[in-house]
């Protein structure tokens, strides 16, 4: 470490997006070259630029050690904590060596790098009732809960409310009302808490909301953005799993029906029968689903698309009417897997956050033979 810290100061050029809505002027790019040791942070660079060149640069910061979550910005287009991003790493990811600094996305800019967290992030957090609604009667002393269940919710408790995941959420980009990754991760913190009394109501609320758990596009952006490994998208998938699997909540957004339709079609055929997925997602997870009013309406709306598909031979009448199936012996084996797993009294899940990895991952991009070598010798 000493060697790293002994590296002499270098020059770094920051290209910063500036904007003061009150000025009435359009946003513009500003550029400053600062001098700092390469291991120092982008935040320190911004503060140096502010001290030396332009005292009007707006940046919010406090702890400077990735705890308070105040200094969320975009570095070279990616969300990051300014205090947690080293200058040398930022330069490596920069085009032409110039580090690009912008405010976070999906939130209005108050000034320069400061965004309005109240208007978006905190409003969404409040939306999910972010406090414990305790089971009654409250015990005289502490609650006794399984250790694993608390380790489990610790992952979402690690959130420092920096807004990085909100900034990068692709669903929110097209649907600003989406409750979003940070708030839904917070929702899991209470849904997953055995002391909470409102699991069903919380989930029903989030499932029925058109901008709730089924509005997530599964793009993994929040997983990448999070500096604390909260895995918001993973938490959203768990909310869906508990809502549909444990509480059998049928939502008006087709979330549960889509899941049942998809899972059922694979059970029936081994591979997906696309032509049936749409009507069943709208009308219900059976062949009769297409006769439900909601499915009929959607099928009618989809007719032009279907005709275009048929005209271009993307689809054929036989593919629409008859599924492609895997060989029947294999299908039976697949169905046996379904039967065995779905008949378990409780879902069996491996949560790597709780158990960790017991071995080094074996697959490497280098390309190893398909046939694995004996356990432990091919890590």
């Amino acid at each position: 470490m000493a060697e790293v810290h002994d590296r002499p100061p270098e020059q770094f050029t920051l290209k910063m997006r500036r904007y003061d809505p009150e000025s009435g002027e359009a946003p513009y790019w500003d550029q400053h070259t600062i001098e700092l040791e390469p291991h120092r942070s982008v935040l320190e660079a911004i503060l140096q630029a502010r001290d030396r060149f332009d005292g009007s640069i707006g940046i919010r910061c406090s702890c400077r050690q990735a705890i308070c979550g105040s200094c969320g910005i975009r570095v070279n287009g990616e969300p990051a904590l300014a205090c947690h991003t080293h200058l040398d790493a930022a330069k490596l990811g920069a085009k032409d060596g110039v580090i690009e600094i912008e405010p976070m996305g999906n939130m209005p800019v108050i000034k320069d790098l400061i965004v309005d967290m109240d208007a978006v992030h905190w409003k969404k957090i409040r939306r999910v009732t972010p406090w414990l609604l305790a089971k009654q009667p409250v015990p005289e002393r502490e609650y006794i809960v399984p250790k694993e269940s608390m380790v489990d919710v610790t992952q979402t408790m690690a959130c420092i409310q920096c807004g990085a995941c909100v900034s990068d959420c692709l669903a929110m980009e097209v649907d600003p009302g989406f409750i979003g990754p940070a708030a839904l991760a917070k929702a899991y913190r209470f849904v997953g808490d055995p002391r909470d009394d409102q699991q069903f109501d919380r989930l029903n609320d989030l499932a029925q909301d058109p901008q709730g758990i089924f509005d997530c596009t599964h793009c993994f952006k929040c997983v990448e953005a999070c500096p604390k490994d909260v895995n918001p998208m993973g938490q959203i998938m768990r909310l869906r799993r508990i809502a549909t699997g444990d509480h059998h909540i049928v939502d008006k957004n087709n979330g549960e029906r889509h899941e049942q339709a998809f899972t059922g079609l694979i059970r029936d055929n081994g591979i997906l029968w696309e032509a049936e997925l749409i009507p069943r997602s709208y009308g219900g997870a059976s062949w009769f689903g297409k006769f439900a009013p909601a499915a009929g309406k959607e099928l009618l709306n989809s007719l032009p698309t279907a005709f275009r598909g048929l005209r271009h031979r993307k689809m054929t009448i036989s593919k629409i009417l008859k599924p492609h199936k895997i060989p029947s012996a294999d299908l039976k084996n697949v169905q046996a897997i379904y039967d065995k797993i779905e008949s378990r009294p409780e879902r069996y899940e491996l949560n790597l956050y709780i158990v960790g990895e017991d071995e080094a991952p074996a697959s490497s991009p280098e390309g190893e033979p398909v046939a694995a070598s004996p356990e432990g010798s091919n890590s």
Binding site: C219, E224, G270, Y282, D330, N333, Y338, A372
Partner: protein, 300 residues
């Protein structure tokens, strides 16, 4: 190179031109495809959302079948979503011996066992890491000169980086750019190239889904792309099949052809656009066909 080949569902369903073009391109790259026709769907993330153990076991079954293919160097897929869904399951299976045993006990009835350490690569990764860009370049018969191609990566093949083995040494999130360049084309960068096509929410929030597709197509058009190329058939469905609807949602004409990766490779390797199934696209790849016709005419 012999590979255990997982074509996925959609390439045999609504994007038959993908499976077809892969079959045509493989021999030109000395890839022998042994199709895993006994395997089932990866679940595309939806089965995992329903029941994680079920998704892991179904995919472990596919991995076990791949490991039985004699002489195969690895498993290969042609669908980003399959890659992402399989990588997620494999991460859990490879991380924990006890869990792997538990999953294998379900497969035991069929006499199958998944052994940790499968290598599973999307065709894009295989192109760059196994065949190599220089090798690919040397096989090009008709360089894509002056063809402006926008890469559309989709989500499942670029995120999360750790799980997908993306690092400085393996910049897999830049491979499409590298392949387009190796084929002689011009890479067009645009805002949506690594964003979501919207397909996963098409039945839940159609407008948001189509807005995503429409915006990316519009961004690519504004950046002057002749066409897009994608390694994901689900992205193709939203970007091509649904493009006329996306046009209505974003209130603009788009006319942006979207090619599957093997189609673009096949074009540069000298195959005819029609043989690569380009007539099966909803948005006719006129720009690509015109380009191809002009190149052939110039050569004559």
């Amino acid at each position: 190179m012999k590979v255990a080949y997982w074509p996925g569902c959609v390439s045999r369903g609504f994007t038959p031109e993908l499976h077809g073009s892969m079959a045509k391109v493989a021999p030109l790259l000395d890839i022998e495809l042994v199709e895993l026709d006994r395997a089932c769907c990866t679940g595309a993330g939806v089965i995992a959302e329903h029941n994680q153990e079920l998704a892991d076991t179904l995919n472990a079954r596919t991995f076990a079948l791949a490991q039985q293919v004699d002489g195969a160097a690895m498993m290969m897929n042609i669908c980003s979503t399959c890659q992402g869904a399989q990588s997620e399951c494999q991460e859990r299976l490879d991380a924990n011996a006890e869990y792997r045993e538990h999953v294998n006990s379900t497969l035991a009835g069929e006499g199958l066992t998944y052994e940790k350490g499968l290598t599973n690569k999307n065709f894009l990764w295989l192109l760059v890491e196994e065949i190599g860009l220089e090798n690919l370049r040397s096989r090009v018969k008709r360089p894509l000169t002056n063809l402006k191609v926008g890469p559309f990566y989709g989500c499942y093949i670029v995120r999360p980086r750790n799980r997908l083995g993306i690092d400085e040494e393996h910049p897999r999130d830049h491979y499409l750019d590298q392949v387009i360049e190796a084929l002689g084309g011009t890479v067009i960068e645009y805002a949506g190239m690594r964003k979501c096509c919207g397909f996963p929410i098409i039945t839940m929030n159609k407008e948001a889904s189509l807005k995503q597709a429409g915006r990316h197509l519009g961004d690519a058009a504004d950046a002057d792309a002749d066409c897009l190329v994608t390694p994901c058939p689900l992205c193709h469905l939203n970007l091509d099949l649904q493009q006329p609807l996306a046009e209505q949602v974003v209130s603009r004409e788009l006319h942006m052809p979207v090619l599957h990766l093997p189609q673009l490779v096949g074009l540069a390797l000298g195959l005819d656009p029609k043989d690569l199934g380009m007539s099966r696209h909803v948005v006719k790849p006129t720009s690509v066909i015109d380009w191809s016709t002009s190149v052939v005419a110039a050569a004559a």
